[in-house]
């Protein structure tokens, strides 16, 4: 059992999401940075479907009510057990009764607290993920909540520490053309690849909003709503691109110029407000 003392800016329960319900208007949701979420589960020997806590910009404080094996992955937030500081990406034994706290990450945005056994709460459509857009799954964590620990664990973990690549100041996300690349001027695609874009403060699990040179349209028609995918770069009327993350809507009414490659979506989810990001055409995507 875990007691939430403070959730920080936003903390939600996440797993691999609920795929296969898009035709009912329900998106997949799930951990925004899936690689980090999966790594956390591996470090504590959890099954793949176990749920973790996705902690946005640190600040989570919990009291553990039983001996736990935990790991913190994703955005490198200092991990404090009582007042002793530990690093992430390594399993850590936490005795019953102590307070565990995540500081502010030095880089990145979303950290994952994996607990051996997984976070147990009632699944909705097969997933424990909080989908902030559709309102499915458990509510974001609040002070005073208690979280049960489940039994979603496999063999005892054997990894001591996992090497992970560092966070870049100005990451480059690989993209491929989207279905409406030809709704934009040829200069727009070149602009997207040549100019840095700045992350605005109003992003969330639905998407990352960017600000930079506006992407001009060649086709001015209104687009009937069409399906969206994870990583889709949608360009609303103001020409400022938006990269869709885990809780993206199932359909959208603005053209999608490109799509961030699956392997890079987690890095998009780690972008901080004010940070700059660049895009590069995936090798076989052409320019």
């Amino acid at each position: 059992m875990i007691e939430v003392i403070a959730p920080g800016p936003l903390a939600t329960v996440q797993d691999l999401g609920r795929p296969g319900y898009a035709e009912l208007g329900v998106g997949r949701s799930g951990a925004a940075d899936l690689l980090s979420h999966r790594l956390g589960n591996r470090l504590v020997g959890n099954a793949e479907h176990a749920a973790t806590v996705e902690v946005t910009f640190g600040g989570l404080r919990i009291r553990v009510r039983a001996d736990l094996l935990i790991a913190v992955t994703g955005a490198p937030a200092p991990v404090f057990v009582q007042s002793v500081q530990y690093g992430g990406n390594a399993p850590l034994r936490v005795p019953a009764g102590v307070e565990l706290r995540l500081g502010t990450p030095q880089a990145g945005l979303r950290s994952y607290l994996a607990v051996r056994g997984g976070i147990a709460c009632e699944p909705v459509l097969g997933s424990r993920s909080t989908d902030l857009l559709s309102g499915l799954g458990p509510a974001p964590l609040r002070a005073g909540d208690t979280l049960a620990v489940g039994e979603d664990s496999d063999a005892a973990p054997i990894v001591d520490v996992a090497p992970v690549p560092g966070y870049q100041d100005e990451p480059v996300l690989r993209i491929r053309p989207g279905p409406r690349r030809d709704w934009f001027t040829p200069e727009a695609w070149a602009m997207l690849l040549d100019s840095p874009y700045t992350v605005t403060p109003d992003g969330n699990r639905i998407g990352v909003r960017l600000s930079g040179p506006p992407l001009g349209r060649a086709v001015q028609a209104e687009l009937p709503s069409e399906p969206l995918v994870l990583g889709a770069i949608q360009v609303p009327a103001n020409g400022q691109p938006l990269v869709f993350l885990a809780d993206h809507p199932v359909t959208g009414g603005y053209p999608v110029i490109g799509v961030v490659c699956r392997a890079d979506v987690g890095r998009a989810a780690q972008l901080r407000p004010g940070q700059r990001v660049r895009f590069a055409a995936s090798p076989d995507a052409g320019r």
């Binding site: 296969g20 898009a22 559709s134 053309p177 069409e226 399906p227 889709a232």
Partner: protein
């Protein structure tokens, strides 16, 4: 809407990132035909099919042969549009929506004629979106095609029945919305604890009835 019209329906197959294709048609009926066709005769490598207004998204398996699938989609003959699956879902509506008089003005119909046209329509769900369980229903007569409200409402109550363009639908829960509201229903459109959770899914046939 038969084989003649959709057998060779013009379509575009557009690349959508690494793992999806988007098939585009001129109208929603052809989208529904391809969806029905893919249910009867699935294409290997297609993991999920998501319809929308003029397009159908195909989410592909990581090892899918995109060129082969694209070719199959381009050449597939579409059977006659099958408007729906299973029994007709009847939805009882109280026609007292806040935009009923605006709709009367836009269409030139009396409110009684609007109700008649709405309840006479044999509708089916073309696609879902916007919120879990929100079905975009097609099959309205053109006389009921009206534009969205110029000022969307910040709060539309659950159960509100609305019109927008060629579509009609029911708001599954309270949400913002820009559709012209003509009535309301007590029917539960979405319940995550129910199996299936959505009353309406693509292909479901629907008939509205005045309470």
């Amino acid at each position: 809407m038969g084989i003649d019209r959709y057998g060779t329906a013009a379509r575009g197959v557009l690349a959508y990132g690494e793992e999806a294709l988007l098939v585009e048609f001129a109208d929603v009926a052809a989208v529904m035909s391809l969806r029905a066709s893919l249910r009867h005769e699935p294409v290997r490598g297609v993991e999920e099919v998501v319809p929308a207004a003029r397009t159908l998204l195909l989410r592909l398996a990581p090892d899918a042969d995109i060129d082969r699938i694209t070719e199959q989609l381009r050449s597939r003959e579409l059977a006659a549009y099958e408007p729906g699956i299973g029994a007709v879902v009847e939805i009882s509506v109280t026609y007292d929506g806040a935009d009923l008089t605006d709709v009367a003005e836009l269409t030139g119909l009396s409110t009684a004629a609007i109700v008649d046209a709405h309840t006479d329509s044999e509708l089916s769900v073309a696609f879902c979106g916007f919120a879990p369980g929100f079905g975009y229903l097609v099959g309205l007569p053109e006389s009921l095609h009206v534009p969205r409200r110029s000022e969307p409402r910040t709060k539309v109550p659950a159960g509100a029945v609305g019109l927008a363009g060629e579509f009609t639908g029911v708001y599954p829960r309270e949400s913002p919305g820009g559709w012209q509201l003509i009535g309301r229903t007590d029917v539960t459109l979405w319940d995550a604890d129910r199996d299936p959770p959505a009353l309406l899914r693509p292909g479901t046939r629907v008939r509205f009835r005045q309470t």
